[in-house]
């Protein structure tokens, strides 16, 4: 990560090597592309990579010959939505996790900090309780995720302990999270234990199996709406890692940047959770992996986290589809597969998070 030249050619200023970071990000993007094609190709109904490419290329030219082949149906109705969902959810959770860790100056933080996932979980449970359709479940999860964060912000602005805005916000997030977790428990308590309770439980474990192309189209729009501001503001977000007083004295409008970052991250997380259910681990741990690879500067950390999150979730979901005879919920697999991987990297990496 750091270029250490020999003393003979030691430059006046030892510069960290940005070239390495570009290579890492390029490598992640290339691996991701490769994995997308592999994942589209393998499964219960294998489609050769060559056919995948032919079908994808053919659909662009609207060639009618391939429209009704089973390979075409599997690819467009089953696999493509699922692959896209894995990319979107992985990228969103990991990107917003990296953002939250930066703006709250805390490596133990994850996207659920301000209550968004607790809100979404309750929203989904409520919709399931009301026997709503899958579209309405997703919509309800999204809306309640946003409501939870707004509640946190509202409580924080009422409490408003001077000078400790960040801490106040985190504490209010814990309050809101607990509150919505209790609402969720209440929903589970009153749910029919034979039909609705299992539905709620399975939703909470997270899965990409039932995602449709329409869900993807909606989620892509809201995820991009969140990601673009984060990408644009990523240098300014860096300065918040040094604390509000310092960032302000560097000329940064800290409140504006923080609000924009929270709104963007919330949008991304809520859309991800609404199509996938609860998938833990990614928002907390993938940013750390990315930080080990490219360092903590948010200018490069954000793109690296987004790519790595997408790569990780696509990998786990592909394994979930293929390896096990019965599909195991993603929320369980991400942790089981991620933990040893993370421990390995942790023991080898020199630069952790402190």
């Amino acid at each position: 990560m750091i270029s250490v030249k020999s003393d003979a050619e030691k430059p006046a200023v030892a510069l960290p090597a940005p070239a390495n970071h570009t290579v890492v990000v390029g490598g992640l993007a290339a691996s991701l592309l490769l994995l997308v094609f592999v994942s589209l190709s393998i499964g219960r109904y294998p489609i050769g990579i060559h056919d995948v490419l032919a079908i994808l290329a053919g659909s662009l030219h609207l060639s009618p010959a391939l429209q009704d082949s089973p390979a075409h149906l599997v690819l467009f109705n089953v696999r493509l939505p699922r692959v896209c969902a894995a990319l979107i959810v992985g990228a969103s959770l990991s990107g917003s996790g990296a953002c939250y860790q930066g703006i709250f100056r805390n490596p133990m933080v994850e996207p659920s900090l301000l209550g968004v996932t607790a809100g979404s979980a309750f929203g989904a449970a409520l919709a399931i309780l009301l026997s709503a359709s899958i579209v309405f479940i997703q919509l309800s999860a999204f809306i309640f995720g946003i409501i939870a964060v707004l509640t946190t912000a509202a409580i924080a602005s009422v409490v408003n302990r001077s000078g400790e805005k960040t801490l106040t916000l985190i504490l209010c997030g814990i309050v809101t999270g607990t509150l919505f977790a209790s609402f969720l428990s209440l929903a589970k308590y009153v749910a029919d234990p034979n039909s609705k309770l299992p539905a709620i439980t399975y939703w909470l474990m997270g899965s990409l199996a039932s995602v449709s192309m329409t869900d993807i189209q909606i989620a892509v729009i809201s995820v991009i709406t969140g990601l673009v501001p984060l990408m644009l503001l990523r240098w300014r977000i860096n300065t918040l890692a040094f604390g509000d007083d310092e960032a302000k004295s560097l000329g940064v409008n800290t409140s504006l940047i923080r609000i924009l970052a929270i709104v963007s991250s919330t949008l991304m997380t809520a859309s991800a959770v609404s199509i996938s259910g609860m998938i833990g681990w990614i928002g907390l741990v993938i940013p750390h992996l990315a930080r080990m690879l490219v360092g903590p500067s948010f200018t490069i950390l954000l793109p690296a986290s987004v790519l790595l999150g997408a790569l990780f979730l696509l990998f786990v979901d592909t394994v979930a589809r293929i390896v096990f005879p019965v599909e195991i919920p993603l929320g369980i697999l991400t942790a089981i597969m991620g933990a040893p991987f993370f421990i390995l990297l942790l023991s080898r990496g020199k630069r952790g998070w402190v």
């Binding site: 750091i2 270029s3 250490v4 030691k10 430059p11 006046a12 200023v13 030892a14 510069l15 960290p16 090597a17 860790q101 930066g102 100056r105 805390n106 490596p107 001077s162 644009l232 503001l233 990523r234 240098w235 300014r236 860096n238 300065t239 890692a241 040094f242 604390g243 007083d245 310092e246 302000k248 004295s249 560097l250 000329g251 940064v252 409008n253 930080r291 360092g295 903590p296 500067s297 200018t299 630069r351 952790g352 998070w353 402190v354």
Partner: protein
């Protein structure tokens, strides 16, 4: 450029920390603020940097600081905080680059020129070799130097330094004081706090003594740092010795604790 404080009062939750402070600072001055713990030195800095609400006026060349856009103000006032460790392993160059923030557009990242200026700031302090090192793993003295580099990368008119010599070993303290003198020659105004009156003798062109939220003495170091002022501030008996080279040092007198 002139930084003027007029009738400045600051308080937390109704408790007045600073009461009707009137003074001014000019670029090229090295002003040392002295005072016991809790007398309001850091509060004064926070008010100047517009980090705390205050009553009265703080002006930069007749313009009230609160009315100057934050980004423009960052080109006039730079802040060197007390030592801290960020939660992530930024390189020293990353830290210095944040000093270029007022020059970088809201949606932009540092340009090649910003990196060059950050390198210049590191080299000015002879710490270019630290550029790629993990800031969190530098020694206290090195980190202090990096923070000063960052402030210089802002190319400010005034440098506001909160206890720049605390946590430093004997040699690094003197290096920082020497650096402060060098910077003042570049027509930067320096306002710093310290708990060592000797440091005021060593490099300040002016000393402002603060006690109980008010200024009790203001002037040349040898005028302000008298036995009576120091005894009043620190509540100990103090002896001041003139060294053969003309410099003064102070020591606590025997049987010195007054309370």
């Amino acid at each position: 450029m002139k930084l003027t404080l007029n009738n400045l009062s600051v308080g937390y939750n109704g408790h007045q920390v600073l009461k009707k402070i009137c003074t001014s600072f000019s670029t090229g001055d090295v002003v040392c603020l002295l005072g016991p713990n809790g007398c309001g030195k850091t509060t004064l800095f926070k008010a100047i940097l517009d980090l705390l609400p205050f009553d009265g006026n703080i002006c930069l060349d007749e313009r009230p600081v609160a009315a100057i856009p934050r980004r423009e103000r960052a080109l006039m006032l730079a802040y060197v905080p007390q030592l801290h460790i960020p939660p992530f392993p930024f390189t020293a160059l990353d830290v210095v680059l944040t000093g270029r923030t007022p020059f970088i557009g809201l949606f932009s990242s540092p340009s090649k020129e910003d990196t060059n200026k950050a390198c210049d700031a590191l080299e000015l302090l002879n710490i270019g070799h630290l550029g790629a090192r993990d800031y969190a793993r530098l020694s206290g003295g090195e980190r202090q130097m990096v923070l000063i580099s960052r402030a210089l990368a802002q190319s400010p008119q005034f440098l506001i330094m909160d206890e720049p010599t605390s946590h430093l070993d004997f040699g690094n303290q003197l290096r920082i004081l020497h650096l402060i003198r060098r910077l003042a020659m570049k027509e930067i105004g320096i306002i710093f706090t310290t708990h060592a009156p000797d440091h005021a003798f060593a490099c300040a062109s002016r000393v402002v003594a603060i006690l109980d939220g008010g200024i009790v003495a203001d002037g040349l170091p040898q005028e302000v740092l008298t036995q009576s002022v120091l005894s009043r501030m620190y509540r100990i008996k103090v002896d001041i010795h003139s060294l053969p080279n003309g410099r003064c040092v102070c020591t606590s007198a025997s049987g010195g604790i007054c309370d």
